[in-house]
C-alpha cells in the first residue's frame, strides 16, 4: 500500500470518528435552530443554558451523584474482594485452587440476560430493588469473574520467591498480601480498576432492571429517559451525553495507557 493511500484511509477514518464527536460537543452550546442550520459551525456564544436545563430541570446532577456513589463503591469493592481472591487462588497449590478459579471465571461466559430474572426475584425478596446498595452489589457480582480473571492471571506470573520472602520473615499471608503483593500488582490493579470503571459507569441493564424510583437513577438510565422527554431536542440530548461522558473522557486523557491495557485484558478472555 502506498503511503498516500495509507494517509487517505487513516485521514478518512479519523474524520469519521472525530466529526460526530465535535458536532456533539459544539452542539451543547447551540439552540435546536442553530444546530440544524449550521451543525459544523462554532457556537455563537458559550451560554451554559443547556447545561443548566439538563443538570437542574432534568435532575441530571442528581443522577451524576448516584453514578459517582455506585461506580466508586463498586469499583473499590470489586477490586478489594477480587484481589483477595486472586491472591489466594494464585498461591493455593493443586487442583482445588484451579477448580475454584475455573468456577469463578466461568461466569464470564454467562450473558447477563441469562440470570437477570432470578437475580431480580432474589433482590426483590431481599428488599434490594430501588436501592443504590442493591445496585452496587449487582455490579460487583456481575464484574467479579472478569476482575478475578485479569488479576489472578497477573499474580500467577509473580515469582514464587516473592510470596515466600514473606513467609521466611514469619509474615502471615495477610501481611504478604498487603505489603508485598498489592504494591507489586499496582499496574494490574490500575488496569482492572479502569476496566471496571468503564463497564460499571456505562452500565444500563442493571439500573434499568432494578431502579424504578427516578431519584435513584444513574446517568445512563437518566440519559435513556431523555429520549421520551426531549425527543428531537438534540442540543439537550448532546448536553446529557457530554455530562455523562466527561469523567470517563477526562480520565482517558490522563490514563490512556491503563485504559488500553485494561480494556484489552478484559476482552481477551480466551
Amino acid at each position: 500500500m502506498t503511503s498516500l493511500s495509507r494517509r487517505v484511509i487513516l485521514g478518512i477514518y479519523a474524520l469519521l470518528v472525530a466529526v460526530p464527536l465535535i458536532v456533539v460537543v459544539t452542539g451543547t452550546f447551540k439552540t435546536t435552530k442553530q444546530l440544524f442550520s449550521s451543525p459544523f459551525g462554532l457556537p455563537s456564544d458559550l451560554a451554559p443554558g443547556n447545561f443548566r436545563t439538563v443538570l437542574t430541570d432534568a435532575s441530571m446532577g442528581h443522577s451524576f451523584a448516584n453514578s459517582v456513589i455506585v461506580t466508586g463503591s463498586a469499583v473499590l469493592l470489586t477490586l478489594l474482594i477480587g484481589s483477595l481472591a486472586s491472591y489466594g487462588l494464585a498461591r493455593i497449590p493443586g487442583r482445588l485452587g484451579w477448580l475454584i478459579y475455573g468456577f469463578l471465571v466461568l461466569g464470564m461466559a454467562v450473558p447477563a440476560q441469562a440470570n437477570m430474572i432470578p437475580q431480580y426475584v432474589l433482590f426483590q425478596r431481599l428488599g434490594l430493588l430501588d436501592s443504590l446498595t442493591g445496585l452496587i452489589l449487582i455490579e460487583i457480582v456481575a464484574t467479579m469473574p472478569v476482575a478475578i480473571f485479569i488479576m489472578t492471571g497477573f499474580m500467577r506470573t509473580l515469582p514464587r520467591e516473592l510470596y515466600e520472602a514473606g513467609s521466611v520473615d514469619g509474615a502471615n499471608p495477610w501481611r504478604t498480601y498487603l505489603s508485598i503483593v498489592l504494591p507489586v500488582s499496582l499496574p494490574s490493579l490500575a488496569a482492572t480498576a479502569i476496566f471496571l470503571f468503564v463497564i460499571q459507569w456505562n452500565d444500563l441493564l442493571y439500573p434499568l432492571l432494578f431502579i424504578h424510583d427516578p431519584s435513584k437513577r444513574t446517568l445512563p438510565l437518566a440519559l435513556l429517559n431523555f429520549q421520551g422527554e426531549y425527543l428531537t431536542n438534540y442540543p439537550l440530548l448532546f448536553t446529557g451525553v457530554v455530562i455523562a461522558s466527561a469523567p470517563i473522557v477526562i480520565a482517558y486523557v490522563f490514563l490512556q495507557r491503563y485504559f488500553v491495557a485494561g480494556m484489552t485484558a478484559g476482552s481477551v478472555k480466551g
Partner: protein, 324 residues
Amino acid sequence: MTTHMLSKRISADTPRATHSPARHPRPGVRPRRGATRTHPALWLFPLPAVALYIVFFALPTAQAFQYAVTDWDGLSAAFNSVGLGNFGTMATNDDLFHNATTNSLKFLLVVVVLQTGLSLLLALLLQRNSRATSALRALYFLPAILSSVSVAFVWKFMYDPNFGLINQALDTVGLHGLQSAFLGNESAAIYWVALTQVWAHTGQLMVIYIAGLQQIPRELYESADLDGAGRWQRFRFVTWPMIAPTTAIVIAYTTIQSFKAFDLILGLGGNPPKGSLDILSTRIYATFTNSQFGYAAAESIVFMLIIALVSVLQRRAVKLTQRV
C-alpha cells in the same frame, strides 16, 4: 515456507495481552508438600468472592433453568410446570422471537465482518510505534469508552431523516438520491445500528490486533522477502496465519459484544424497540417486563445456546482459513 509449521508455533504460544509468559506454575510442577506448606489462612482469601458469586450469580443461573419450564408470571405464588412447552412455543409459534433472532444474526454478521476487517486494516496501517500513530490510535479508541446510550444519541442525530447530519451533508453536495430514512427504513434499520456498533468498537479491536501484529517475529518477514514474496503473499502466508489466534479472540469478543448490544438498541430504537430493531437481548427484556418470567427464562437459555453454537462454528471457520 509451510504454514503448517507456523500454525504449530501459534498453538504453542497463544498471546495474552497482559500476562508475561515468564513463570506460570502449573499444579503438576509445584514443589512437594512440606517444602512450603499452604498456610491454612490462604483458604479464607477467596471466600468473600466465592460466597457472593454462589449466592448472587451461580444459583440464579441455575434457577433460570428451573423457571424455564414453568409459566410463572413473577407475581403469583402459584405457577404450573409446562415442561418443555416454552421451548416448543418459541420454536413454532412466536413471531416476535423469530424476528429478534433474525435481527440478531443480521446484526452479528455485519458487525463481525466489517469490524474485524476494518480493525485489522487500521492495525496494519498503525502497527509501527510513532507519535502520529499513537495519536491516531488514541482517537480511534475513544468511542469505545463512551456509554452505548451516549453513542446511540450521537448517531440518532446523524441518522435523523429531516435534520440529521448525513442527509444534510448529502443535500449540500447535491446527492439527494442517496438520502435515506435510515432507522425509519424497516428493512435496513438494523444494518444502520450495526454500523454504529462498528463505529463504537473498531478502535478497541484494532488495539488487540496491533498487540498481535507486534508479536510476529521480524525474521518471518525477512525470510518471506528472501523467497521473493510480494505484499499480498507476505500478508497471506505470514501475517494472516500468525495473527489467527488474535483473529479468533477478536471475533469471539465481537460476537459476544454484538449479542449484548442491548443499550445501543434501546438508545436508537426506543424502549421497547420497534420490531425492525428488536434483537434477542431486548426481546428477553421485553418478555420479562411483560411479566412472563418463565417464558423469558426459557428465551434466555436459548439465547445462551445460540451464543455458544455461533462461537463454536466461528472457531472452526477461523481454523479453516489458516490452511493454505
